[in-house]
């Protein structure tokens, strides 16, 4: 117990020294403030961006809202379509044989690779971004729910044989619940992939959103805004993952190994 508090204190000291060192390096000019703005400057910029549209045309909350909305819509559809498809592929042999080779073809293409094609189809706008994010979350959703069901398949067979449960009953009462943790792992990979692809898509072509904000700030040389944007991207990425973990703890009781 005492040891634990000791390490917590070390952590706090470490973090504070890191920020102080950063501040010192920047303010003393060892590294120019044009390359590394001081933490205090970043905080000012953050407050400023909360209400100001410079230099990229929108306030920070609007960028955040745009990015979150697009990421979550794409993620939602990726999960809602990907999970049932993965489960069906694992459960129905013919489904598996029909879709698996096709799926194997698109699986290794990184979601970012879809950006140009989607822009060609849908233009620069919410549709192109949402469809890239859809792909980014659809693929891990399928993979994980598929292997989640497959892994316990032998047990399912055994259960249905011994207890005479129908295929349908086994699927809904045993297979899907036992694949729950795996499906959530898939959702976590999917959410992470969604956020990454969103940033990529916004960097490449968009008119709003956090990725757009840092790209524009870079073009006009506002490194402080870039920094704030990058940190905000990190914070919201982490917050969404936390939210998902919270949901998982609520839904899958005792399923996850610690």
């Amino acid at each position: 117990m005492k040891e634990k508090t000791k390490y917590i204190i070390i952590s706090i000291v470490s973090l504070i020294s890191f920020i102080l060192l950063w501040d010192l390096v920047s303010k003393s000019g060892i590294i120019s403030a044009k390359k590394l703005p001081a933490p205090s400057k970043l905080f000012e910029t953050f407050i400023y961006k909360l209400g100001n549209k410079n230099p990229d045309g929108n306030t920070l909350p609007i960028h955040i809202w745009t990015s979150l909305k697009e990421a979550l819509i794409g993620f939602f559809f990726g999960i809602v379509i990907g999970v049932p498809l993965g489960i069906s592929m694992a459960w129905f042999k013919k489904f598996d044989k029909f879709f698996s080779p096709l799926f194997d073809l698109i699986k290794p293409i990184p979601p970012v690779g879809w950006v140009p094609i989607m822009i060609t189809f849908f233009g620069i706008g919410i549709m192109s971004k949402v469809s890239v994010i859809f792909i980014a979350s659809f693929i891990p959703a399928v993979i994980n729910s598929y292997s989640g069901i497959k892994q316990t398949r032998e047990v399912h067979k055994w259960v249905s044989q011994t207890f005479g449960a129908s295929n349908r009953q086994v699927l809904f009462t045993i297979a899907i619940p036992s694949a729950g943790p795996m499906i959530f792992t898939g959702a976590r990979v999917a959410l992470n992939g969604s956020w990454v692809s969103l940033v990529a898509a916004e960097l490449i072509a968009s008119t709003k959103g956090l990725g757009y904000m840092i790209q524009t700030a870079r073009l006009v040389g506002r490194i402080d805004v870039v920094f704030v944007g990058v940190l905000v991207i990190g914070v919201f990425g982490a917050a969404m993952m936390e939210g998902l973990s919270f949901l998982e703890r609520k839904l899958v009781k005792g399923g996850r190994r610690s």
Binding site: Y7, L15, L102, G113, I204, G237
Partner: protein, 263 residues
Amino acid sequence: MINKTFTKDMRETWMYGILGFLVFLLVWQAACVFTNFGKIFPTPKVSLAAFLQAFVEPIGRHTLLGHISISLRRVLIGYTLSSITGIIIGLLMGYSKLAHAIIYPIFCIIRPIPGIAWIPLAILWIGIGEPTIHFIIFMGGFSQMVMNTMDGAQHVDTELVGVAKVLGAKENQIFRKIVLPSSIPYIFTGLQTSLSTSWMAVLAAEMITAREGAGWLIIAGMQTGRIENNVIGMIAIGLVGLILATLLRNAERRLCRWTVRSR
């Protein structure tokens, strides 16, 4: 009898696989012929021809293989660097509580930032060029490498550590002979996910800052309205991704023989 059902199963697998693929091509073809889709998108036949041609005829400065090998080179450099540093820092944090207490809170600031989000910063810091791209790939794989390795080093079976101590192992031997090998499966998981994010990071970086490479190929296809280049690029990217993942899986199978249960 087992053999018979087995071959029947194989035959079905192939049949359905080919059927699925044909349906896919048919839908693609039909969409090109009967809808507006065809105005912007090449038919399967045109795409395939363009794909094959790209091996001999340069697109931009290089042929398809040229672009791919440029991208691969970049990935290899960034990925190797991120893997090595990631493994070292991960082991350190997983093994030493003091190192964990010092590094982890700072690491937590950069951990959730996607590698791709570093692109604008990297350009401002280093300028446009190879080192920037390497840096972006590095940041793309680094956090995952650290997290997985750390996880492995933290999950070392304490009983085995005890066994080694009873047998006379010293602290540094415990690290090399117990902590390191038991982290290897976790390290491989890290290497795998990190490779695919590295591959994604290079594409994004090339789309934004490069004049060559697979990422440039597809973005240039879009910008010049030559969508077939885009399609070619995607096919190539998919194939390379597949090959990389397979290579790594084989390496894992070789290095982690002990985890494979033989029957």
